[in-house]
Amino acid sequence: MVTWLEQIPGELLPAIPLVMVLLSLTAAVAIFPLPENSVKLRAGINLTAAVAKVLLIIALVPAVVADGARPEFSAPFLPGIDLVLRVDPLALFFAGLSSLLWLLTTIYALGYLRGAENKSRFFGFFSLCVTATVGISFSGNLITFLVFYELLTVVTYPLVAHWGTPASLRAARIYLRYALGGGLAVLIGVVWLTMYVGPVDFAEGGAEGVTELVASNPVPALLIFALLVGGLGVKAALFPLHGWLPLAMVAPAPVSALLHAVAVVKAGVFGIVRVLHDVFGVEAAAQLGVLTPLLILAAFTILYGSYQALRQQEIKKRLAYSTISQVSYVVLGVAMVNVLATTGGIVHLVHQGIMKVTLFFCAGLFAEVIRAHTVSQLRGAGRRMPLTSAAFTVGAFGMIGLPPTAGFISKWQLGTGALASEHPWVLWVLMGSSLLNAAYFLPVVYALWFADPQDVDPETLVGGEAGSEAADPLRVREPKSLLVPALITAGLTLLVGIAASLAFAPLQVARFIAEGVLG
Amino acid sequence: MMLDSSAGALGASVEAGLLGLELTQVQWYLLLGTAVAVIGMVRMLLTRDLVARLIALNVTGIGSLMIILALAARSAESADAAGSGPGIDPVLSALVITGLVITVAFTGLGAVLIRRIEGFQASGRRDDAESGGTAQDPEAEQ
């Protein structure tokens, strides 16, 4: 498959980023007016667009990573400022993650929402959400980034509010408050920076003029940095700005998965990486003296998130706090400024996405099939839903960082990076966090496999299709479209861990990016 | 204040104008027009009676048209000095006539509205009760 795709004619390359954005946008536009009951057509459009996107990404990988091509599309937007879509390795990395997980999450959501209301609305906004994510990853300058970043805010609102209950509307409102506030901070930062240096094009090693600005006007530069990172930190759920994330759990499970693994949280972190690497550049940032505070903030968020996760009984809440903690690994990695740590941070963008999406898929399965929402309700679920439980276990091990999962690779990189950096104390943070991770995930795993399902509520047995032919009367069969994506992502969690040394594996691409930035 | 500034703005040629001693005819009309307009405006803002308001609006209109007429005579004066014919500036006169027509049109519309409103206030309460609130409460009750 890859062989024929490798030969993209050179003149078509610049159009590809635009095509990628338009692909999911078109899907959204086509889905919105569909009547509720045209299930097949809707699924068809969704899956076609998602598959096409994954194929395009695969086609782009060799050209961008090996040949160094930078397909670029631009259109005039405001006087002196263009909308620029450009594919560089980091963009491709993030877009690849979102495309792949969009495909899997769509399959999952098709099964999850069977029989629910407002499906056209849901999948329409779902596609818009991915449009925004792809736009964010391909943005070639700050304005374009901002446009898609705000688009993401707006289109996730109806997804979080999807159930239409007062609780979900409240969560959505709080989410919107946080996100709009953060977006506004970013906007002010962008306006300010644009006034100094003109349209801020992303460039490796820092945008044009920013280094001079840092040298000549450190105070405004510092404030701009604070505005940008602070604003992005809202979506990235950095410590004091994380309040919306646990509340957003009321959203449907596929939305939570998307929010945590690809779209919202990741968009914030991705933005921080962009600002650090391609707007300010690591040297200018080091000159400003912002790296150490950022590092400390990230480290604190990691421990705080883990500690809070430990206290949650509800599975989804526990996962939410775990996200707060895990996502800060990325910031931690890039703030340590050496190839090893940066590689670890960037690769964790993808690794965390895959692992967290697995866990949310499984949490959704538990909730749907056996109505298990809290840790104690999961007692003995391993016997009733062995495949789901196995996938969950793989994801949890990944989060803890046990070999041979993807999480181990990230933590290993981060750990060696920490030793090589001027902040060896970070290693203790990593170890502490891993212990906490183990402390809140292992009891779940234990409950799944080793606890007795003694007090199973008979009512919950009607949840799944009772497998009469199965030996165990407690065994329930999970819906395929929910189970398969979970198994695939669980498999991927293992695969990217085991095969991390292959060419074009996430780790190699991440190293390539890190060397590009620092080397 | 407006009176002062307008007189100050226009009376640049006659220094004694502000003291009211040696006013030319044109300046008299300017002052008078301003006074009428201001009185009309004040009355319009203070009264709650709709008909009185409409009349006050017309008074304001007449005051402003007087100001414009005075301005017309003034620019005609300067035209006189330049040697063209005597009389009143035609453009500003056209402005005044248009203003009059438009004020009449508005007054007519206002009168129709007032008649409807007061017609309802006189007979509408019982009608309201009968119709069971097909229409919502009037904004006027605020």
Partner: protein, 555 residues
């Protein structure tokens, strides 16, 4: 695409005359024929506006002396970039709202009719005879008087936009004001008092404006906008001579127009007028009628007066009022419990944005960032940026507010109430309306992509370049507030169920007996949606808009 010049000039006259003729003609027709005529006219105006826009975009200012008379007594029509943009916006919104009104006659107002079916009465008709209790009269929805009034109003709007002199501007403004008052009065009994209040304000504003115009004429000897601008700048170059009169004139003009655009603290009339007007009228009032006064204000400040340093105080006073408008309007919008008053207060708040540029006009030096590495803006760009930002905000507001008022009015007509609490869950039955409201909210808040965002960006960058950082603060605060009150308006519509699983069920209003009427009602929801979509799509037009505004610009 480029029509010959003579034809384009014909269009310039025709955009004013054709709606006027159609308005007169429609008085003679029955109500169904009026609807057809209305839609045809709006198509015609849309068609006539296009060549004007194309011509102006290509860089020409169009000028036509009607009937061959030259100034001062002749009528000169002139279209530059500013005219073309406002003309185009009016054509689009006017056409969409006309289609809506044609598809939903019930949205055009309420009339008193005897129980027996009676043909629709003309506007000025006296219904009072039908009032007393012995005659069984009832309120019927739909008022055919909408069409002559709205077409007349449209003619007046276009007259204001293409007028080359202050006199015709005045006549156009009066036509707009008179018809707008009558349009409000179509809203039935509760609208009459609001209409009357609006009438007082409109007349007062026009009188002040008229005195201002007369003063300018007495100083410059001409009513032509460009000529008087030249004369004033010559006077300013010579010395102090009669500038005090110009300042006084501008004070009066600004005050008069501020009354008409409802700038805080002169805004009180707007709320009842806009919220009690019929569903097809509120969008026109808020999106278009107010813009006529704004247009004249921009003309007066930029084309007639130019940057006179004597205007400094007035500019700051108006900008202060604008800031107050943004704050007060937003706070009041947050406190409303009904949809239409909330949207009306949002208009009050948005009006404030259009006055922020005035201090920039008088102080357009890009000195704030001088000597910085790679400062982006050169001198002179500040004026252009501030004006394009303000125009983009105004046009974006037009599209978004028209869409918002249409949606809100539609809901009010269907459910008989616009209490937000009672409309909880209405989004389930009308996803398209809620979607339109969402899109227009994006435009009003100024999120990217939307014309509102482009406008705020342009205004903010010019403000920063000129060192007016306070504008940035005002924009930020205004943005936060607008997000808050629009969320308050839209979010409850999305409620699917209460805690006890009961959803909203309001009795449907009487209009739905006829199935064909129902399909038309469904189709009519497209109107706000189209406008909402345009709000967002026009976000790409920032560059183009700045270019068009350069045509015939005063600098």
């Amino acid at each position: 695409m480029n029509a010959p010049m003579s034809l384009t000039l014909f269009c310039l006259g025709a955009v004013v005359l054709i709606p006027l003729l159609a308005s007169a003609l429609s008085v003679l027709l029955g109500s169904a024929a009026r609807r057809v005529l209305g839609v045809l006219t709006s198509a015609a105006v849309l068609g006539l506006s296009t060549p004007i826009l194309v011509r102006v975009t290509s860089g020409e200012t169009l000028e036509l002396a009607l009937g061959g008379f030259e100034s001062p007594l002749g009528i000169t029509l002139r279209a530059d970039g500013l005219s073309a943009l406002f003309l185009a916006m009016t054509a689009i919104i006017g056409a969409v709202v006309s289609c809506y009104a044609a598809a939903r006659p019930a949205a055009t107002g309420k009339r008193l009719a005897a129980q027996a079916v009676e043909p629709a009465g003309a506007t000025g008709g006296d219904h009072r005879g039908a009032l007393p209790q012995e005659s069984p009269a009832a309120w019927k929805s739909g008022h055919a008087g909408f069409w002559p009034l709205w077409l007349g109003c449209w003619s007046g709007l276009n007259a204001v936009f293409v007028s080359g002199d202050m006199f015709n501007t005045y006549v156009g403004l009066e036509l707009v004001g008179l018809t707008a008052v009558a349009l409000v009065a179509l809203g039935g009994r509760e609208a009459w008092a609001a209409a009357l209040r609006y009438l007082f304000i409109a007349v007062l504003g026009s009188l002040l404006f008229l005195i201002g115009v007369a003063l300018i004429y007495s100083v410059t000897g001409t009513l032509d906008i460009i000529d008087s601008g030249k004369a004033i700048s010559e006077l300013a170059a010579q010395g102090e001579a009669d500038l005090a009169a110009v300042v006084l004139a501008l004070c009066l003009i600004s005050l008069g127009l501020a009354l008409k655009v409802a700038l805080v603290p002169l805004h009180r009339w707007l709320i009842p007028a806009h919220s009690s007007a019929p569903s097809a009228v509120s969008p026109l009032l808020s999106a278009l009628v107010i813009k006529a006064a704004l247009f004249v204000l921009l003309r007066a400040w930029l084309w007639v007066a130019g940057p006179l340093p004597e205007l400094q105080i007035l500019a700051w006073v108006l900008a202060g009022m604008g800031t107050a408008a943004i704050l007060l309007g937003s706070v009041m919008a947050l406190r409303q419990s009904r949809l239409k008053p909330l949207i009306a207060y949002s208009t009050v708040a948005q009006v404030g944005y259009w006055f922020l540029l005035l201090p920039l006009l008088l102080d357009p030096e890009t000195n704030a960032l001088e000597g910085q590495p790679g400062t982006a803006l050169e001198d002179g760009a500040v004026l252009a940026g501030a004006l394009s930002g303000t125009v983009a905000l105004a046009l974006g507001h037009g599209l978004a507010k028209a869409s918002l008022f249409l949606s809100a009015g539609h809901l009010k007509d269907l459910y008989g109430t616009d209490e937000i609490a009672e409309l909880r869950g209405a989004g389930r039955a009308h996803p398209m309306l809620v979607m339109s409201m969402g899109l227009s909210a994006v435009g009003l808040i100024g999120l990217p992509l939307s014309l509102g965002f482009s406008g705020k960006w342009l205004l903010a960058t010019s403000a920063v370049a000129a060192g007016h950082y306070w504008i940035l603060v005002v924009l930020v605060v205004g943005t936060l507030f607008s997000a808050a009150y629009l969320l308050k308006a839209v979010a409850p519509l999305l409620v699917m169920s209460e805690d006890d699983q009961t959803a909203l069920s309001l009795p449907q209003a009487k209009t739905h007996s006829d199935p064909s009427d129902k399909t038309l009602t469904g189709k009519a929801q497209l109107a706000p949606f189209v406008l909402g979509l345009l709000t967002v799509l026009t976000g790409f037009l920032g560059v183009w808009l700045t270019g068009v505004l350069e045509v015939g610009a005063p600098w």
